[in-house]
Symmetry: C2
Subunit: 162 residues, 2 copies
């Protein structure tokens, strides 16, 4: 049960977008070069963010992506679900129904007890992600990343933002 690498990419890209000055866009090319990622494939992750209305886009030179909401209004779960999908990690195939001892056409009143427990764990995972805002990540990064690297990084991307 491994998350797509695009999840990691999307989170890092959102962190950069969150630090952009108001109104500026950042292209796929700039984000790919900054993170050392394949541009064409990263593009798919960014498209997912766009479809989830987490980012806005504009075409043409100096076009690209920017956040559609303020970083404190975006949480981790939204980003993760945008690229990973909203399906639960455990899918119940209802194998209890195959029990040959069950009467023909017997109907269960509740979802399978095994599934309920697995879904509870899934919900705990989602709850944790829901509680972390993008602004929290930006706060942590600006504390932990050395100030000069942090500054140079945004100079670098803004130069590429036209």
């Amino acid at each position: 049960m491994i998350l797509k690498s695009q999840v990691e990419w999307a989170l890092h890209c959102c962190a950069i977008l969150a630090g952009l000055p108001e109104g500026r866009y950042l292209s796929t090319k700039a984000l790919a070069e900054l993170h050392g990622l394949p541009k064409e494939y990263l593009s798919k992750a960014l498209q997912s963010l766009s479809q989830a209305s987490l980012v806005e886009t504009t075409l043409g030179p100096s076009g690209g992506y920017r956040l559609a909401k303020t970083p404190s209004d975006i949480n981790f779960l939204e980003i993760v679900e945008a690229v990973e999908g909203k399906a639960r990690s455990f899918t119940c195939t209802n194998i209890r129904a195959n029990n040959p001892c069950r009467p023909e056409g017997y109907c269960d009143s509740k979802p399978c007890a095994v599934a309920r427990i697995m879904w509870e764990a899934d919900e705990a995972w989602r709850d944790t992600l829901r509680r972390v805002r993008l602004s929290d990540l930006v706060g942590t990064l600006s504390e932990e990343v050395p100030a000069d690297i942090w500054r140079r990084t945004f100079e670098w991307v803004l130069k590429r933002a036209g």
Copy 2:
């Protein structure tokens, strides 16, 4: 990010094994027929449980599997990890290191902030599973499954246990 179907199978099989009388074994064949599963492939899941020391085996006629511990000493996480592995769902490829603005040979003092958050969510998932014991599942099932189906099921498997 989807769990293997073997996780579901293993959990249901453990629930059945937990209800067996002391000292009885149940074969792969019986467990496969009870749940309507491919015998050869289910066997792999049971082997995983065996390698994790959650079940004990014996060969020959009337052989098969039984729990290695009492149901209250086995939790969901042990079973899930036995077949799914212990790897975290999020793998950090440390793409921050590709930032061209970082000085040559710069070394990070902490794991990536993105990874720390994702791992925290992963731990919340594991914590939930760790808190649920196999005996809890058996308790729920014996409450929710109609008594006659429950009884007939164990008569059915015991007949096949020789």
